[in-house]
């Protein structure tokens, strides 16, 4: 590898160290693992959304040559420890907790629910075996919608709950909601829906579990966002001590929130491996991924807004219903974040927030890139509807109502200070980048030719990591830990609990540490994916830029101080006079004095300094997020809607963002573009659809449509100058923002394009057929 010349690596688009292996087929994904004696699992799944399981007979499958074992739900239950969803347990969920087994025993609760697992010499044979498992079902009425689930007459999906409430109804008020609405000149009211969509990483879920009977230990090769969370989940459900479970992860083919911990199927595979004393692999196929891995969103909102005649947004009142699907995990917890984030960067002085969660016979709710994103969608959509009624310009209405940068900062009505938030600046930047008056002229000219153009703007903030609460005991995202070591050949090794699955941590963390420690980029290695050697951690919630970038910086600083201290004895110089540059410890201003850091490490290990010098060149560093801060930005889309076909073309897409100090601009821009592409998909293409019987209608890539290279335009990105809050660490998370704000940006643009028809849009999914319906609905009313 050729050395990279840069004054500082941090802030430069350093080429990724992940790429040479990925580009040559040398990446190692979970499906690439092949162990001696490895068996393969396939699952028998329910064809019904809601049914009683009367009997499961796997005897014919067991007799098939090549099939080694088959487990029914009851058999697997006897091999595992019952308990709630591991993620809910880890996050301390106190609400309704359904009881269920890894494989269905008494009932199946969605089409695709696993009923039995067949283990065979190959995946082909395991699937043959599945064909021979006979299951008798007795139909139960399916609970397909949240509205029916909340009807006390609906049959309970989980017997121990007695109803279908995943999250008990609650109401909270911030500020004086009643007085705000009473005093308002105008009160607007609307209902907005967000449809069900899903993560769809190109690599689905997968696991290879390998139990060693002699040592009683389990090695799991996983595709996971956290090797430690997976380890805890496996240990919990298999009744093993945590130190007996080692989780390894290599390259991971995307996740977007799906692969946190271990799913029911993965735990079942681990249990089978223990029972058989052989390695077992399961990698889900795309049908399983689309129908059973997890889905997200599907929330509905009744919203009211108190507004003055001048266009001041005084307060909002929100009722949210979330459809958590069957086997609720993350879904029941999401409304709390939606509530906290609902005011966004706006000055509103009152917020009422009610929420309820419904259990339905659909695939379960999982975290998906910005799980709380509906707050931005609903608020930014509603603002455009309000602007129309007020006859105001949507951009002007936003500029009027967002909190400007002030000292002390404005405080969200839900409690957090908007310190360093540059929403106003990002909106102003959008207005500079996009010539709105020129667009309006072009739009009018186009309309005369029967061409429908529209423009839309939306803005968001994300707590990535969020501000430090004044006087708060800890940072906004807890603690991040990193172990750093200087090897005797001069390599600086970072051990992190981050589990990158596309985020480029092996590059970005090395950039920060190389700068801070004073070695070339190539001399830093980032070790991930081994629960025996990396500290606890999780890649998710856009935490890694601040938390892990920060701990890499502080850890490298600590390790450097240790090295300089040892070198000061070696070089008989005062530590204050030493520095590390380009991998050499030298007396400041005297390049000839330099000795390589590797030599310092070798001498340190020799023991020559005795007990008085701390010669251990390994540190464990921790970072609490420092002063934290917000990520955010404003997006603008220009679209053309073909009113004959309903096809929406995104003509231009502009982003003005502030994610703090950039570690690697190319990586940041990749995160933004990828998020925007998913937002474009959510609006124009993607939907996890169910029929009235609860059959998933989007089980293939010909039904669940993803954006292609022809659907996503070039995305223009402007980075705003950030407001530094911390002395050292001002990197902020950028993973989720694109997906959070692209949907309202696009829908606002589409509604603008259709304004000659008088179309109003109260939903997020706008495929061609729906565009045509929206136009026809207005025509029918006229």
């Amino acid at each position: 590898m050729t050395a990279i010349a840069a004054e500082r690596y941090t802030g430069a688009s350093i080429k990724r160290s992940e790429d040479p292996r990925i580009l040559t087929g040398a990446g190692r994904y979970v499906d690439d693992i092949k162990l001696p004696g490895m068996l393969h699992a396939a699952f028998v799944r329910s064809p019904m959304a809601h049914a009683r399981v009367l009997s499961v007979d796997a005897s014919a499958a067991r007799e098939l040559p090549g099939v080694v074992a088959a487990y029914t739900g009851a058999e697997l239950e006897a091999m595992t420890v019952p308990g709630p969803d591991a993620l809910m347990a880890l996050m301390g969920w106190q609400g309704p907790t359904p009881q269920f087994t890894l494989l269905a025993t008494d009932k199946v609760r969605f089409a695709g629910d696993p009923v039995a697992v067949v283990i065979a010499e190959s995946r082909y044979l395991a699937e043959d075996g599945c064909e021979l498992v006979a299951v008798e079902y007795e139909d139960l009425p399916p609970v397909v919608t949240a509205a029916f689930a909340l009807d006390p007459a609906s049959p309970p999906v989980f017997a121990n709950l007695g109803d279908n409430i995943a999250r008990t109804h609650s109401r909270n008020e911030f500020g004086d909601v009643a007085a705000t609405f009473e005093a308002a000149d105008r009160v607007f009211e609307t209902h907005i829906d967000v449809h069900r969509h899903q993560n769809v990483p190109m690599e689905g879920r997968g696991i290879v579990a390998s139990y060693d009977r002699d040592s009683g230990s389990m090695t799991v090769y996983a595709a996971t966002q956290s090797v430690h969370v997976s380890k805890i989940a496996v240990a919990m459900r298999l009744g093993m001590e945590q130190d007996k479970v080692r989780v390894l992860a290599g390259d991971i083919g995307g996740s977007f929130g799906l692969k946190i911990g271990a799913s029911r199927e993965e735990l079942a595979v681990a249990a089978a491996s223990r029972d058989l004393g052989r390695p077992v692999k399961w990698v889900e196929d795309r049908g399983e991924n689309l129908t059973t891995s997890g889905q997200a969103r599907e929330e509905s909102f009744d919203v009211r807004a108190a507004v003055s005649n001048d266009g001041d947004l005084l307060g909002m009142d929100v009722k949210m219903v979330i459809d958590t699907g069957a086997y609720p995990g993350m879904g029941a917890m999401v409304p709390d974040i939606v509530q906290a984030m609902f005011p966004g960067p706006y000055k509103m002085a009152a917020l009422g927030f009610e929420s309820t969660g419904a259990i339905t016979n659909k695939c379960c709710y999982v975290a998906y890139r910005g799980p709380w994103a509906s707050e931005t969608f609903v608020r930014e959509r509603f603002l455009d509807l309000i602007a129309k009624d007020l006859g105001a310009d949507p951009l002007e209405l936003r500029l009027r109502n967002v909190a400007p940068l002030t000292d002390p900062p404005a405080v969200m009505v839900t409690g957090r200070p908007l310190v360093g938030v540059t929403t106003q600046e990002s909106l102003q930047r959008i207005a500079q980048l996009v010539d709105f008056p020129a667009f309006r002229r072009r739009q009018a000219e186009a309309l005369e030719r029967g061409v429908y153009l529209g423009i839309g703007v939306a803005t968001f903030i994300e707590a990535a990591p969020g501000p430090r609460e004044p006087g708060g005991p800890s940072g906004p995202m807890g603690i991040e830990t990193m172990r750093l070591r200087l090897e005797e050949d001069g390599i600086v090794v970072l051990f992190t609990g981050q589990m990158p699955h596309g985020q480029s941590h092996q590059t970005t963390l090395a950039q920060i540490a190389a700068d801070e420690f004073g070695v070339p980029f190539e001399q830093v290695r980032v070790v991930v994916g081994d629960s025996d050697v990396v500290p606890f951690g999780l890649t998710g919630g856009s935490r890694s830029a601040t938390m892990t970038g920060g701990v890499a910086l502080h850890g490298a600083r600590q390790l450097k101080a240790r090295v300089i201290d040892v070198a000061s004895h070696l070089m008989e110089a005062s530590a204050q006079d030493l520095e590390i540059t380009d991998g050499q410890v030298l007396v400041r201003g005297d390049p000839a004095s330099g000795i390589p850091v590797g030599e310092v490490a070798r001498r340190a290990a020799s023991g020559e300094f005795g007990a008085d010098v701390d010669a251990s060149l390994e540190v464990i560093a921790q970072f609490d997020g420092g002063e934290g801060g917000w990520s955010g930005g404003s997006h603008c889309a220009i679209v053309e809607v073909d009113t004959e076909t309903g096809i929406v073309k995104v003509e231009r897409y502009v982003v003005a963002e502030d994610c703090g100090a950039l570690i690697n601009p190319a990586v940041v821009e990749g995160q933004i573009r990828g998020g925007v592409a998913q937002g474009i998909g959510a609006v124009l293409l993607e939907r996890s659809a169910y029929d009235e019987d609860g059959n998933c209608q989007s089980a293939t890539f010909m039904d669940y449509l993803l954006p292609t290279a022809c659907d996503v335009p070039r995305i223009e990105i402007e980075h705003l100058e950030t407001v530094p809050l911390d002395a050292d660490v001002n990197f902020r998370g950028v993973g989720e923002g694109g997906m959070i704000v692209a949907p309202p940006t696009l829908v606002n643009a589409i509604e603008d394009a259709l304004s000659p028809f008088g179309v109003r849009i109260y939903e997020q999914h706008l495929p061609p057929a729906r565009i045509l319906e929206l136009i026809a609905e207005v025509d029918a009313k006229d």
Partner: protein
């Protein structure tokens, strides 16, 4: 089980795959060439794309026995000795990819296309890659990588003519 012989990445390989085994599974399981990825197994996502007798094909939609006698190139064989070829280098330089799962198919599709259209422009490249799904990048960095390769190929042939 039928015996088959084919050329993979310039090397003659034989095998006895079950008749129902896909070419993708044969490459991955029997030949341990795990660079070829399976993203959907129904021919939509393109992650499993390999070059067979000069054309990009989806190895999940083809049986191994159908590839008997063919000349197959996978991602492992695209560059010289597993090193980066010109297209791969351009994609590295352009930060083309993130998670890397769609990468083998995307690169093979682009390589096959550039072989026939060495002077392609952005619209043609987008069209040519529109059957390969990437969930991470929004495609721009991938398109930029292919465009950079086109530029370098053009510069290279200009140098040769000069």
């Amino acid at each position: 089980m039928p015996d088959i012989t084919l050329t993979v990445n310039g090397v003659t390989r034989t095998g006895s795959p079950e008749a129902r085994k896909t070419l993708a599974d044969f490459l991955r399981d029997d030949l341990s060439l795990t660079g070829t990825h399976l993203g959907c197994e129904h021919g939509v996502c393109g992650a499993c794309t390999v070059i067979l007798d000069g054309r990009a094909v989806r190895s999940c939609l083809m049986l191994a026995v159908q590839a008997a006698g063919s000349d197959v190139t996978t991602i492992e064989g695209l560059g010289p000795d597993g090193e980066l070829g010109e297209l791969q280098q351009a994609m590295w330089d352009s930060h083309s990819f993130q998670c890397g799962f769609c990468t083998p198919g995307m690169v093979m599709q682009a390589a096959a296309f550039l072989g026939d259209h060495p002077e392609a422009g952005e619209p043609e490249i987008r069209e040519a890659l529109s059957g390969n799904i990437c969930r991470c990048t929004g495609y721009q960095s991938i398109i930029d990588g292919v465009l950079l390769a086109v530029e370098r190929i053009r510069e290279g042939s200009a140098r040769e003519t000069a």
